[in-house]
Protein backbone atom coordinates (compact mmCIF):
# COMPACT_ATOMS: atom_id res chain seq x y z
CA UNK A 1 0.00 0.00 0.00
CA UNK A 2 2.57 2.55 1.00
CA UNK A 3 5.51 3.44 -1.10
CA UNK A 4 8.68 4.35 0.70
CA UNK A 5 10.21 7.25 -1.16
CA UNK A 6 13.14 9.51 -0.58
CA UNK A 7 10.90 12.39 0.30
CA UNK A 8 9.14 10.57 3.06
CA UNK A 9 12.19 9.25 4.77
CA UNK A 10 14.33 12.34 4.53
CA UNK A 11 17.24 9.92 4.68
CA UNK A 12 15.67 8.09 7.60
CA UNK A 13 17.01 4.59 7.60
CA UNK A 14 14.65 1.73 8.30
CA UNK A 15 16.14 -0.13 11.23
CA UNK A 16 16.92 -3.71 10.34
CA UNK A 17 14.13 -5.26 12.44
CA UNK A 18 12.94 -7.98 10.10
CA UNK A 19 14.05 -11.44 11.07
CA UNK A 20 15.29 -10.15 14.44
CA UNK A 21 12.55 -11.98 16.31
CA UNK A 22 11.21 -15.50 16.63
CA UNK A 23 7.94 -17.27 15.94
CA UNK A 24 5.64 -17.47 18.96
CA UNK A 25 5.38 -20.96 20.38
CA UNK A 26 1.78 -20.67 21.55
CA UNK A 27 -1.23 -21.18 19.28
CA UNK A 28 -3.40 -18.25 18.19
CA UNK A 29 -0.74 -15.68 18.82
CA UNK A 30 -1.53 -12.44 16.98
CA UNK A 31 2.07 -11.86 15.90
CA UNK A 32 3.90 -13.85 13.28
CA UNK A 33 7.19 -12.86 14.83
CA UNK A 34 7.91 -11.57 18.34
CA UNK A 35 10.49 -8.78 18.22
CA UNK A 36 12.02 -6.69 20.97
CA UNK A 37 11.66 -2.93 20.71
CA UNK A 38 15.45 -2.78 20.57
CA UNK A 39 15.40 -4.00 16.95
CA UNK A 40 13.35 -0.94 15.98
CA UNK A 41 15.85 1.60 17.29
CA UNK A 42 18.77 3.31 15.58
CA UNK A 43 22.29 1.97 15.90
CA UNK A 44 23.24 4.87 18.18
CA UNK A 45 20.46 3.91 20.60
CA UNK A 46 21.36 0.24 20.39
CA UNK A 47 24.98 1.13 21.15
CA UNK A 48 23.88 3.12 24.20
CA UNK A 49 21.99 0.12 25.56
CA UNK A 50 24.61 -2.47 24.75
CA UNK A 51 27.33 -0.90 26.91
CA UNK A 52 26.42 -1.03 30.59
CA UNK A 53 28.44 2.08 31.21
CA UNK A 54 27.02 4.19 28.42
CA UNK A 55 23.50 3.07 29.37
CA UNK A 56 22.26 5.73 31.81
CA UNK A 57 19.69 3.25 33.13
CA UNK A 58 22.49 1.83 35.23
CA UNK A 59 22.36 4.89 37.45
CA UNK A 60 19.03 3.48 38.66
CA UNK A 61 20.43 -0.05 38.92
CA UNK A 62 23.11 1.33 41.25
CA UNK A 63 20.62 3.37 43.24
CA UNK A 64 18.44 0.27 43.59
CA UNK A 65 21.45 -1.72 44.77
CA UNK A 66 22.08 0.88 47.49
CA UNK A 67 18.42 0.83 48.56
CA UNK A 68 18.40 -2.99 48.63
CA UNK A 69 20.50 -3.10 51.77
CA UNK A 70 19.13 0.07 53.36
CA UNK A 71 17.11 -0.59 56.52
CA UNK A 72 13.71 1.12 56.44
CA UNK A 73 10.46 0.80 58.39
CA UNK A 74 9.37 -0.28 61.87
CA UNK A 75 10.57 -3.88 61.44
CA UNK A 76 14.15 -2.69 61.12
CA UNK A 77 14.72 -4.64 57.94
CA UNK A 78 16.09 -4.06 54.50
CA UNK A 79 15.33 -6.09 51.40
CA UNK A 80 18.61 -7.88 51.98
CA UNK A 81 17.51 -8.99 55.50
CA UNK A 82 15.17 -11.55 53.93
CA UNK A 83 16.36 -11.88 50.35
CA UNK A 84 20.15 -11.69 50.86
CA UNK A 85 21.88 -11.21 47.54
CA UNK A 86 19.51 -9.98 44.85
CA UNK A 87 21.76 -11.41 42.17
CA UNK A 88 20.63 -14.89 43.29
CA UNK A 89 17.30 -14.32 45.01
CA UNK A 90 15.76 -12.01 42.40
CA UNK A 91 16.95 -13.85 39.32
CA UNK A 92 14.03 -14.50 37.00
CA UNK A 93 11.48 -12.66 39.16
CA UNK A 94 10.82 -9.86 36.67
CA UNK A 95 10.33 -12.30 33.79
CA UNK A 96 7.20 -13.84 35.34
CA UNK A 97 5.48 -10.58 36.34
CA UNK A 98 2.64 -9.81 36.70
CA UNK A 99 1.96 -12.85 38.85
CA UNK A 100 -1.10 -14.07 40.76
CA UNK A 101 -1.04 -13.10 44.43
CA UNK A 102 -3.16 -15.42 46.52
CA UNK A 103 -3.44 -12.98 49.41
CA UNK A 104 -4.52 -10.03 47.27
CA UNK A 105 -6.68 -12.28 45.04
CA UNK A 106 -5.31 -10.49 41.99
CA UNK A 107 -2.20 -10.32 39.88
CA UNK A 108 0.52 -7.96 41.05
CA UNK A 109 3.37 -6.47 39.09
CA UNK A 110 6.89 -5.82 40.27
CA UNK A 111 6.23 -2.35 41.65
CA UNK A 112 3.30 -3.67 43.66
CA UNK A 113 5.28 -6.71 44.82
CA UNK A 114 8.03 -4.43 46.14
CA UNK A 115 5.52 -2.26 47.97
CA UNK A 116 3.71 -5.27 49.45
CA UNK A 117 7.05 -6.39 50.85
CA UNK A 118 7.70 -2.93 52.23
CA UNK A 119 4.37 -2.60 54.02
CA UNK A 120 3.95 -6.18 55.18
CA UNK A 121 7.46 -7.32 55.99
CA UNK A 122 9.46 -4.16 56.53
CA UNK A 123 6.56 -2.20 58.04
CA UNK A 124 7.69 0.69 55.88
CA UNK A 125 5.67 3.19 53.85
CA UNK A 126 5.05 1.98 50.34
CA UNK A 127 6.87 4.06 47.75
CA UNK A 128 4.76 6.24 45.48
CA UNK A 129 4.41 5.12 41.89
CA UNK A 130 6.88 7.07 39.79
CA UNK A 131 9.09 7.94 42.77
CA UNK A 132 12.81 7.61 42.01
CA UNK A 133 13.05 4.99 44.78
CA UNK A 134 10.32 2.70 43.47
CA UNK A 135 11.55 3.01 39.89
CA UNK A 136 15.15 2.39 40.95
CA UNK A 137 14.21 -0.70 42.97
CA UNK A 138 12.02 -1.99 40.14
CA UNK A 139 14.93 -1.46 37.77
CA UNK A 140 17.42 -3.13 40.10
CA UNK A 141 15.23 -6.17 40.74
CA UNK A 142 14.19 -6.29 37.08
CA UNK A 143 17.82 -6.18 36.00
CA UNK A 144 18.51 -9.44 37.87
CA UNK A 145 16.35 -11.13 35.22
CA UNK A 146 18.26 -9.69 32.29
CA UNK A 147 18.38 -12.36 29.62
CA UNK A 148 15.64 -14.46 31.20
CA UNK A 149 12.77 -15.10 28.76
CA UNK A 150 9.41 -13.56 29.65
CA UNK A 151 7.11 -16.36 30.86
CA UNK A 152 3.88 -15.06 32.44
CA UNK A 153 1.05 -17.38 33.48
CA UNK A 154 -2.28 -16.56 31.88
CA UNK A 155 -4.36 -19.55 33.00
CA UNK A 156 -6.50 -20.24 36.08
CA UNK A 157 -7.39 -17.10 38.00
CA UNK A 158 -5.26 -15.05 35.60
CA UNK A 159 -7.55 -15.85 32.68
CA UNK A 160 -10.15 -13.08 33.24
CA UNK A 161 -7.32 -10.58 33.70
CA UNK A 162 -5.73 -11.76 30.49
CA UNK A 163 -9.05 -11.43 28.63
CA UNK A 164 -9.58 -7.95 30.04
CA UNK A 165 -6.08 -6.99 28.97
CA UNK A 166 -6.68 -8.23 25.46
CA UNK A 167 -9.88 -6.25 25.24
CA UNK A 168 -8.03 -3.12 26.39
CA UNK A 169 -5.34 -3.71 23.78
CA UNK A 170 -7.93 -3.63 20.99
CA UNK A 171 -10.22 -0.96 22.49
CA UNK A 172 -10.21 2.25 20.50
CA UNK A 173 -10.01 5.22 22.81
CA UNK A 174 -9.57 8.95 22.81
CA UNK A 175 -10.48 11.66 20.36
CA UNK A 176 -8.11 10.05 17.85
CA UNK A 177 -10.05 6.80 18.22
CA UNK A 178 -7.04 4.51 18.33
CA UNK A 179 -6.14 1.25 20.03
CA UNK A 180 -2.76 -0.17 21.00
CA UNK A 181 -3.23 -2.62 18.13
CA UNK A 182 -3.70 0.12 15.53
CA UNK A 183 -0.05 1.03 15.84
CA UNK A 184 1.71 -1.84 17.55
CA UNK A 185 0.07 -4.77 15.78
CA UNK A 186 -1.03 -3.39 12.39
CA UNK A 187 1.72 -0.89 11.72
CA UNK A 188 4.95 -1.80 13.45
CA UNK A 189 8.02 -1.47 11.26
CA UNK A 190 6.77 1.73 9.68
CA UNK A 191 7.55 5.37 10.23
CA UNK A 192 4.86 7.41 11.93
CA UNK A 193 6.33 10.77 10.94
CA UNK A 194 9.86 10.10 12.22
CA UNK A 195 8.82 7.66 14.95
CA UNK A 196 9.60 4.11 13.97
CA UNK A 197 6.79 2.01 15.40
CA UNK A 198 7.68 -1.09 17.43
CA UNK A 199 5.50 -3.93 18.64
CA UNK A 200 5.09 -2.17 21.96
CA UNK A 201 6.81 -4.96 23.85
CA UNK A 202 7.46 -4.53 27.57
CA UNK A 203 10.60 -6.61 28.18
CA UNK A 204 12.84 -3.56 28.62
CA UNK A 205 10.93 -1.73 31.34
CA UNK A 206 11.67 0.33 33.30
CA UNK A 207 13.28 1.88 30.27
CA UNK A 208 15.66 4.83 29.95
CA UNK A 209 13.99 7.11 27.42
CA UNK A 210 16.08 9.50 25.36
CA UNK A 211 13.12 11.83 25.36
CA UNK A 212 12.57 12.19 29.11
CA UNK A 213 16.21 11.40 29.96
CA UNK A 214 15.20 9.23 32.88
CA UNK A 215 13.83 5.80 33.64
CA UNK A 216 10.21 5.40 32.73
CA UNK A 217 8.09 2.69 34.37
CA UNK A 218 5.75 0.72 32.14
CA UNK A 219 2.49 2.20 33.38
CA UNK A 220 3.81 5.71 32.78
CA UNK A 221 4.49 4.67 29.18
CA UNK A 222 0.95 3.31 28.89
CA UNK A 223 -0.33 6.65 30.13
CA UNK A 224 1.79 8.49 27.59
CA UNK A 225 0.38 6.51 24.68
CA UNK A 226 -3.20 7.04 25.84
CA UNK A 227 -2.57 10.74 26.38
CA UNK A 228 -1.19 11.05 22.86
CA UNK A 229 -4.35 9.64 21.30
CA UNK A 230 -6.19 12.22 23.41
CA UNK A 231 -7.63 9.65 25.76
CA UNK A 232 -8.06 9.98 29.49
CA UNK A 233 -5.39 7.53 30.70
CA UNK A 234 -6.05 4.90 33.33
CA UNK A 235 -4.17 5.33 36.58
CA UNK A 236 -0.79 3.65 37.14
CA UNK A 237 -1.20 0.35 39.00
CA UNK A 238 -4.93 0.34 38.20
CA UNK A 239 -6.60 -2.99 37.44
CA UNK A 240 -6.84 -1.93 33.80
CA UNK A 241 -3.11 -1.33 33.44
CA UNK A 242 -2.37 -4.52 35.37
CA UNK A 243 -4.51 -6.47 32.92
CA UNK A 244 -2.89 -4.71 29.98
CA UNK A 245 0.59 -5.37 31.40
CA UNK A 246 -0.25 -9.07 31.70
CA UNK A 247 -1.64 -9.29 28.18
CA UNK A 248 1.27 -7.45 26.55
CA UNK A 249 3.77 -9.54 28.51
CA UNK A 250 2.08 -12.57 26.94
CA UNK A 251 2.45 -11.01 23.49
CA UNK A 252 6.17 -11.00 24.20
CA UNK A 253 6.48 -14.52 25.64
CA UNK A 254 10.05 -15.65 25.26
CA UNK A 255 11.61 -12.21 24.80
CA UNK A 256 14.62 -11.80 27.07
CA UNK A 257 14.26 -9.19 29.81
CA UNK A 258 16.44 -6.18 28.91
CA UNK A 259 15.90 -4.02 32.00
CA UNK A 260 17.10 -1.30 31.86
CA UNK A 261 16.58 -0.90 28.12
CA UNK A 262 17.24 2.35 26.23
CA UNK A 263 14.44 3.59 24.00
CA UNK A 264 13.57 6.79 22.14
Amino acid sequence: MWCGGAIAQDALEHPDWQGKGFAPNVPDHPLREIISGLAFRTHETKAMQSDDFNNPGFLAVEEGAALWSKVDGAAGKSCASCHQEAVQSMKGVRASMPKWDEKQKKPVNLEQRINICRSENMKAEPWKFGSPELTAMTTYVGHQSRGTPVSVRTDGPMKPWFDRGRQLFYDRVGQLDMSCANCHEKNYGKFLRADFVSQGQTNGFPTYRLQTQRLVPLHERFQGCMFDVRADPYKPLSDEFLALELYIAWRGLGLPVETPAVRN
Binding site: N54, L59, E63, P132, Q213, R214
Partner: protein
Protein backbone atom coordinates in the same frame (compact mmCIF):
# COMPACT_ATOMS: atom_id res chain seq x y z
CA UNK B 1 18.30 10.32 43.07
CA UNK B 2 20.39 11.31 45.99
CA UNK B 3 22.00 7.97 46.73
CA UNK B 4 23.71 7.75 43.41
CA UNK B 5 27.45 7.91 43.27
CA UNK B 6 28.95 9.17 40.06
CA UNK B 7 30.11 6.43 37.75
CA UNK B 8 33.69 6.45 36.47
CA UNK B 9 35.24 3.90 34.19
CA UNK B 10 38.90 3.81 33.17
CA UNK B 11 39.85 1.28 30.54
CA UNK B 12 43.01 0.61 32.57
CA UNK B 13 44.78 2.00 35.62
CA UNK B 14 48.37 0.86 35.14
CA UNK B 15 50.06 2.33 32.14
CA UNK B 16 53.45 3.19 30.72
CA UNK B 17 54.43 6.79 30.09
CA UNK B 18 53.00 7.91 26.77
CA UNK B 19 50.08 5.50 26.90
CA UNK B 20 46.49 6.66 26.63
CA UNK B 21 43.77 6.01 29.22
CA UNK B 22 40.14 6.17 28.16
CA UNK B 23 37.86 7.70 30.74
CA UNK B 24 34.08 7.59 30.90
CA UNK B 25 32.18 9.59 33.50
CA UNK B 26 28.45 9.66 34.22
CA UNK B 27 26.57 11.43 36.98
CA UNK B 28 22.89 11.47 37.85
CA UNK B 29 21.47 14.96 37.34
CA UNK B 30 18.27 16.32 35.76
CA UNK B 31 20.11 19.25 34.07
CA UNK B 32 17.04 21.46 34.45
CA UNK B 33 17.49 23.84 31.54
CA UNK B 34 15.58 26.83 32.89
CA UNK B 35 13.54 26.81 29.68
CA UNK B 36 10.96 24.27 30.72
CA UNK B 37 7.52 25.11 32.05
CA UNK B 38 5.78 23.12 34.76
CA UNK B 39 2.13 22.04 34.72
CA UNK B 40 0.97 25.47 35.91
CA UNK B 41 2.94 27.27 33.22
CA UNK B 42 5.67 28.54 35.53
CA UNK B 43 9.24 28.37 34.31
CA UNK B 44 11.20 25.72 36.20
CA UNK B 45 14.35 27.46 37.40
CA UNK B 46 17.65 26.44 35.85
CA UNK B 47 19.70 23.98 37.84
CA UNK B 48 22.49 22.29 35.97
CA UNK B 49 25.95 20.91 36.48
CA UNK B 50 27.94 23.80 35.00
CA UNK B 51 31.48 22.46 35.29
CA UNK B 52 33.20 19.12 35.17
CA UNK B 53 36.92 18.75 35.82
CA UNK B 54 39.46 15.97 35.98
CA UNK B 55 42.57 16.99 37.93
CA UNK B 56 45.72 15.40 39.21
CA UNK B 57 48.16 16.97 41.66
CA UNK B 58 46.37 20.33 41.35
CA UNK B 59 46.68 20.28 37.57
CA UNK B 60 43.55 20.25 35.40
CA UNK B 61 43.99 17.55 32.78
CA UNK B 62 40.55 17.83 31.21
CA UNK B 63 37.57 20.08 31.88
CA UNK B 64 34.23 20.97 30.44
CA UNK B 65 31.95 23.96 30.94
CA UNK B 66 28.39 22.77 30.51
CA UNK B 67 25.37 24.68 29.23
CA UNK B 68 21.71 23.66 29.56
CA UNK B 69 22.03 22.01 26.13
CA UNK B 70 23.83 19.07 27.76
CA UNK B 71 21.41 16.15 28.29
CA UNK B 72 20.35 15.02 31.74
CA UNK B 73 22.76 12.62 33.49
CA UNK B 74 25.79 14.22 31.84
CA UNK B 75 28.11 11.76 30.19
CA UNK B 76 31.72 12.37 29.17
CA UNK B 77 34.14 10.19 27.34
CA UNK B 78 37.69 11.50 26.95
CA UNK B 79 41.30 10.34 26.76
CA UNK B 80 44.28 11.18 28.93
CA UNK B 81 48.03 10.74 28.51
CA UNK B 82 49.07 11.11 32.15
CA UNK B 83 52.74 11.71 32.85
CA UNK B 84 52.69 10.72 36.52
CA UNK B 85 51.02 8.40 39.00
CA UNK B 86 48.44 9.58 41.47
CA UNK B 87 44.78 10.09 42.17
CA UNK B 88 42.63 11.44 39.35
CA UNK B 89 40.01 13.63 40.98
CA UNK B 90 36.72 14.11 39.14
CA UNK B 91 34.54 17.04 40.19
CA UNK B 92 31.05 18.10 39.14
CA UNK B 93 29.84 21.56 40.16
CA UNK B 94 26.12 22.25 40.47
CA UNK B 95 24.56 25.71 39.97
CA UNK B 96 23.53 25.59 43.64
CA UNK B 97 27.14 25.19 44.73
CA UNK B 98 26.94 21.45 45.41
CA UNK B 99 30.16 19.66 44.59
CA UNK B 100 30.23 16.00 43.64
CA UNK B 101 33.58 14.23 43.72
CA UNK B 102 35.05 10.91 42.73
CA UNK B 103 38.60 9.59 42.72
CA UNK B 104 40.44 6.90 40.77
CA UNK B 105 44.13 6.26 41.31
CA UNK B 106 46.39 5.40 38.39
CA UNK B 107 49.97 4.24 38.10
CA UNK B 108 52.29 5.47 35.38
CA UNK B 109 55.57 3.63 35.00
Amino acid sequence: MTNVKPRIRLDRKDIKKGDTIEVKALVSHTMESGQRKDKDGNTVPRKIINKFTCTMNQKTLFACDLEPAISANPYFHFKLKPQESGPLIFTWLDDDGTRIEATETITVS
